[in-house]
């Protein structure tokens, strides 16, 4: 029963967020600073993750595909397509569930248990539009940006690893990557990024906004936010793959 109760409250929070998303004045400032925290400050970790994912994928794929029958460009095709349709979005999603999700849940949870949210409400603020809307919107805007960074660095990392280890020449890698490059894959990857961004920010806002109890409550909210974000990212990944491919 609890899960339906949670879904109900989550839905109501989203409904309030959508309804109050017109109050731009009250959340504009927070929106900008959230884009900095969610997007700009997450760029290094996401780029690093992309770089290493691409590099590892290239090295391992070339290890798996040692055969005279398979041309080296196949490695480029596998690596770049995997990164674009799956790994750029999922790896950065899982990392950001920890980085962004935990931060949002902690911030809102602390504000809840120290009555800062009540303080906002008592001043006449709409706390949902002030706190939830800018965070979710920042997720919408910045996750595609982070995805572009992750995907670019992933393919770059793949080329680099192929070149350094000598397993795939850069020209072969690019030939394969281009051979299997479809515009639809980009749309698919970006869709994933947007959906994951929404999942992380909305679930974390929900968990933080409804945190109860003191420090322990905030801790629980943070843990739940990160874990639930990861679970729903994987679930959404499956659903998107089934629906869109």
């Amino acid at each position: 029963m609890d899960i339906f109760y949670d879904f109900g409250r989550y839905g109501r929070l989203l409904y309030q967020a959508i309804r109050s998303s017109t109050e731009v004045k009250s959340y504009y400032r927070n929106f900008v600073s959230e884009m900095i925290k969610t997007g700009y400050e997450s760029l290094p970790i996401v780029m690093l993750a992309g770089l290493f994912t691409g590099a590892v994928l290239t090295i391992q794929t070339s290890y798996q595909l040692i055969s005279a029958l398979i041309p080296k460009s196949t490695i480029g095709a596998i690596v770049s397509q995997s990164i674009i349709i799956e790994l750029a979005a999922v790896i950065s999603g899982l990392i950001l569930a920890g980085r962004v999700g935990a931060r949002i849940a902690t911030e809102l949870g602390t504000m809840r248990v120290s009555e800062q949210i009540d303080a906002l409400e008592s001043m006449g603020f709409n706390s949902v539009s002030f706190l939830v809307v800018p965070r979710v919107l920042a997720g919408f805007v910045m996750f595609p940006v982070l995805w572009v960074a992750a995907a670019t660095c992933g393919i770059g990392g793949g080329i680099l690893a192929g070149w350094v280890t000598g397993s795939v020449p850069a020209a072969d890698f690019m030939q394969g990557a281009r051979e299997f490059f479809f515009a639809w894959d980009i749309i698919f990857g970006l869709t994933k990024a947007v959906v994951f961004g929404f999942i992380i920010t909305s679930i974390s806002c929900f968990k933080g906004y409804y945190a109860t109890g003191g420090a322990e409550g905030v801790g629980n909210a943070t843990t739940n936010a990160a874990v639930l974000s990861c679970i729903y990212i994987l679930l959404a990944d499956l659903v998107l793959a089934a629906v869109l491919l």
């Binding site: 900008v32 884009m35 760029l43 398979i70 995997s82 805007v141 940006v145 281009r178 479809f182 515009a183």
Partner: protein, 306 residues
Amino acid sequence: MKNELKVGLTIVAAIIVAVIGYRFMAETPIFGQTYQLHANFDRVDGINPGSSIFLQGVKIGRVTRVSFQDSDSVNVLMSFNVPQEFPVGTKAYIRSVQLLEKGIEIERGDSSDRLDSGAKIPGFYDEGIMGTVRELGEETGGDIRSSTKRLNSVLTQVDDMMTESARSDIQEMLSSLNTTSSEVETLIQRNNRHIEESVTHLRNVLQNLDGLTTGQEAKVDSVLASLESTARNLDETSASLNEMSREVNDILKKINEGEGSLGRLVNDPSLYNNLDSLSYNLNDLIINFNENPRHFLKHMRLVDIF
């Protein structure tokens, strides 16, 4: 304001990277407009957005969009990565560019006028290699079937021949052949003595003749007559010799001409031909596979593992 600037720059940088990256990966010019042409085809089996476009075997572009023009033709929008527009009169053919993949091949026109981007060129659907292969397959299907049948029966016969009795037959045949040849040898030896005797006789005769001729010219005539009959005898001997060698010849000839099981085994040309063409076909397939493995592998979509 500083935060707004950071956010703005980040978003703009991401958009720029995305656009450049996309155009780089899609092999369209990174800056400037893409050169595009339309072509109408009756049918476009095997052509999808992303299919390659070739000019004299060089990849010069991709199919961007495939859409219905009207009820009986399909419009294909092609994007090219070429430094110069194509001349008027350029045509597009859908052909098999590799064993299993269809592509569009461009044949340049020879006019001095150029086609603007967005112009329409005529398109043709070629059955291509796969079509030929299909026809060939239909034609040769019967042949292959009967060849296989024949090969089968030959193999059965060979199998039969290799039973115990057949093997002893062959053994017997070979031993009788042996006897025949030794008989021929004895015959020749025996005749040799006869010839030697004949030659001695002849010498005696000649001596007698020498003695006789002096003053016995009248008798020489009768001697010559008897000599003549002797020579006739000699003739007969050589004829029987001839007969013998012809018989040996006949046996060898029979083997040669493929009569009897052994002969067939050695001589049936269709068996050899069938085996030969089989190995040739296999060779072809392996060469094709070696040259273009990804066209056999493409549809495996290895990446779907992830």
